[in-house]
């Protein structure tokens, strides 16, 4: 059994498990970013993922995707130094028939890659087992809650943010950050009639919301609907420096809902800065019951 590290929600964990391997989505921490890391112009999440990989001693393979430009190119930087195999998964951005074919081709290619890792043994049935999808414990409760959206959030930042929110007698009632997107995917069903396993998988993953998908409106419609369903009394947007996809989110959200919104930018080292936390506290004061 090989340990396969990934971060993008478009990496099919079913396929990794069915191939007899262990999918590992490292809980990147902002603290993992080395002070000397060259992050000028580089998305801190991409940099954080690479640094986390470099700190692992048990890594058998690393999976990157083309979901964003930064991750696509960071893959090259990582591959230069990596001793273990690296796979770049091509993630399409549209829902065109060609896009669907690209993704199913890519999953087929990925299966071939997985088959060459040590201990590989394919078991199709495992594809359809219920997967343990990361959920950071947000809840729909009677308490006043906040919606959290934006780029993937470092785990240490998430914990700090949750504590801070709780201190104001609030909770996170909707987590829409990239880290938890897989939980919004439809479960893979064996009863679906598509003959080709990889086409089925591609269909399924393409149903997942993603900020980089085009056309643009469906993603924002979905996100706004989720925020409204959660009855959040405020929205926190997490923005990493140099992440283009989430940068204009505050504009998109403010244009469409009346709920108070705040954008919190992580520092170049990945962590929420003292200034960002102060800003957040001021926002929470306004939202608290």
């Amino acid at each position: 059994m090989a340990k396969v590290y990934y971060t993008c929600p478009y990496v099919p964990i079913e396929l990794i498990i069915a191939s007899g391997h262990e999918p590992l989505r490292p809980q990147c921490a902002a603290k993992s970013l080395a002070a000397e890391a060259e992050t000028e112009g580089l998305c801190v999440w991409a940099a954080g993922f690479v640094q986390t990989l470099m700190q692992q001693t048990d890594i058998d393979a690393a999976i990157f995707t083309t979901a964003c430009d930064q991750m696509r190119r960071t893959c090259e930087l990582y591959a230069e130094h990596s001793k273990s195999p690296v796979f770049l998964l091509n993630v399409p951005k549209t829902g065109s028939p060609a896009a669907q074919a690209i993704l199913s081709d890519e999953y087929r290619r990925f299966a071939g890659f997985l088959a060459n890792l040590p201990g590989a043994k394919f078991a199709c049935k495992a594809m359809f087992l219920k997967q343990d999808i990361p959920n950071r414990g947000c809840s729909f409760s009677s308490e006043k809650g906040l919606a959290l959206i934006g780029g993937p959030l470092f785990e240490d930042d998430f914990k700090m943010l949750s504590r801070l929110v709780a201190g104001f007698r609030l909770n996170i009632c909707f987590d829409g950050t990239e880290s938890v997107w897989p939980q919004y995917r439809l479960p893979l069903s064996q009863t679906q009639t598509t003959a080709d396993l990889f086409e089925l998988l591609a269909d399924n993953y393409l149903s997942m919301p993603a900020v980089w998908k085009r056309p643009v409106p469906p993603f924002w419609n979905w996100l706004i609907e989720q925020i409204q369903l959660s009855r959040a009394c405020g929205v926190i947007i997490i923005q990493h420096p140099f992440c283009d996809y989430w940068r204009p989110a505050i504009y998109d959200i403010k244009c469409r809902i009346n709920t108070p919104v705040v954008m919190i930018e992580t520092g170049e080292g990945g962590s929420l800065s003292a200034a960002a936390l102060l800003r957040l506290e001021a926002f929470l004061e306004q939202c608290m019951p």
Partner: protein
């Protein structure tokens, strides 16, 4: 004997224009003095040094009248297609219809430079969520909002997939502002694996046949969309003829580049060379006029070479330039610092190469689209550049970063490192902002250091 053909300021061009007119210069329908563009708002022209030939004047006039010519086209009943991001492929499909012309709204990234920030496009973009973190292409959003620049296209087609994040977001903003966009998938061009069927896209690189098939499928989908916009069916014969025409233009351009980059004395300045290359992506909305302008420039260059005339001293340092500068005056600055352009990679070498005329046109265009260096790996792009540097014997490299561009942070590092390790040539990694004026002193110092380094390495 070698002589210098002096470059002129805008003011000097006034007299030169009168002189040429008095001596029988004949211009195309979009001809006229350069000064009129300055008077109409292109204030950057006042800071530039221009080539003094009628051929260069025609080039400037072709470029600076594009918006007027597009309006004229619409007035005559033609339709305008805004093609975005793929730089070179989809316009060819549009030109295969009698009533369509194509242009790249992406080119709006230079409007704030040409207008010296008097256009307010960045401010409009910022009001719509696109601040200075994004590359200058965000100006496109402002131009769509105020409708004071290019005519708003009848249809928009945008490549998405392995394109830069900035562009995907900027184009996406147009959609949320109510513009319909036809998105098509342009995937990351990967290296074929094992015995996977593949096709060569240049002498060293190949791509999987399967990717060509899928992009071909997308191009057919674009054609069906264009047929609806045009109201006519595409004729395969007409498409093949359009490709032949495109190849004719690209061959002219290739000859011109080869002469300019390889000639011992530089026969055409960097600024005009860069603009000439820009013609390749959509032929400045008029393939016929582009061909005429290029032929004129080629004649001028051939005559200068034959008579030993150049625009720069013979010892100018031969520089390979990577990525287009956000401020066009950076090209003049390079020359003022003792450099000359000897090789370029402005992110669209795929638009400079001839399209395969031996296979079906859609397959040929799919191969062309997949040759885009921006959708492949940075390593491959760097290797292709290294081969060109070797061929052109460039002495130094300028890696020009685009402010805010998502691809530059990692890509520039990979390319610069590979070139430094492999080429034994100095590489200067600089960022060129939309207006270089406040940074001119430091940029001058860095460019001069580069050219001095090269000179000190030359054998006595």
């Amino acid at each position: 004997m070698n002589t210098l053909s002096p470059q002129l300021t805008l003011n000097q061009w006034k007299n030169r224009y009168c002189y040429l007119r008095d001596n029988g210069m004949v211009e195309r329908f979009y001809g006229g003095p350069l000064q009129r563009h300055f008077d109409a708002g292109d204030k950057r022209l006042g800071r530039l040094q221009f080539d003094n030939s009628p051929a260069a004047l025609a080039l400037w006039n072709l470029i600076l009248t594009e918006e007027d010519r597009l309006r004229l086209w619409r007035h005559k009943g033609g339709k305008i297609i805004g093609t975005m991001k793929d730089l070179g492929t989809t316009p060819i499909l549009a030109y295969a219809f009698d009533n369509l012309v194509a242009f790249y709204p992406d080119a709006a990234w230079w409007i704030p430079c040409f207008k010296q920030h008097q256009d307010g496009l960045f401010e409009l973009a910022a009001k719509n969520g696109l601040d200075a973190v994004f590359c200058p292409v965000r100006a496109m959003v402002g131009a769509f909002i105020n409708e004071q620049h290019f005519p708003i296209p009848d249809a928009l087609i945008c490549a998405v997939g392995a394109v830069c994040d900035d562009f995907s977001v900027v184009a996406g903003r147009l959609e949320t502002l109510g513009r319909d966009i036809f998105w098509w998938e342009l995937p990351h061009a990967r290296i074929p694996e094992g015995d996977e069927p593949a096709v060569l896209i240049d002498d060293k690189q190949s791509i999987p046949c399967r990717q060509v098939q899928l992009v071909r499928q997308e191009l057919i989908r674009i054609t069906e969309f264009l047929e609806k916009v045009s109201g006519t069916r595409l004729s395969q014969v007409r498409l093949s003829k359009t490709i032949q025409k495109v190849n004719c233009i690209r061959r002219l351009l290739e000859t011109l580049r080869s002469l300019v980059f390889k000639s011992p004395q530089c026969p055409l300045g960097a600024l005009e060379m860069m603009l000439t290359e820009m013609l390749a992506i959509h032929f400045c909305s008029d393939p016929d006029e582009t061909e005429i302008v290029l032929a004129g420039l080629l004649r001028e260059v051939q005559e200068r070479i034959a008579s030993g005339v150049g625009v720069l001293p013979r010892n100018a340092v031969r520089v390979f330039w990577i990525n287009p500068p956000a401020d066009i005056s950076a090209m003049n600055l390079l020359e003022r610092c003792g450099g000359r352009l000897c090789g370029t990679e402005f992110m669209f070498p795929h638009a400079l190469k001839c399209i395969d005329e031996t296979c079906d046109p859609f397959t040929a265009l799919a191969k062309a689209a997949l040759s885009d260096p921006m959708i492949g790996s940075s390593q491959q792009r760097a290797e292709r550049i290294a081969r060109q540097i070797e061929t052109l014997n460039s002495e130094a490299v300028v890696m020009c970063r685009i402010p805010g561009a998502s691809h530059c942070a990692v890509e520039s590092r990979i390319i610069a490192n590979l070139l430094r390790e492999r080429m034994n040539r100095p590489v200067l990694d600089i960022e060129i902002p939309t207006l270089i004026d406040p940074y001119e002193t430091s940029l001058t110092t860095r460019l001069e250091a580069l050219t001095e380094t090269v000179r000190s390495r030359r054998p006595l």
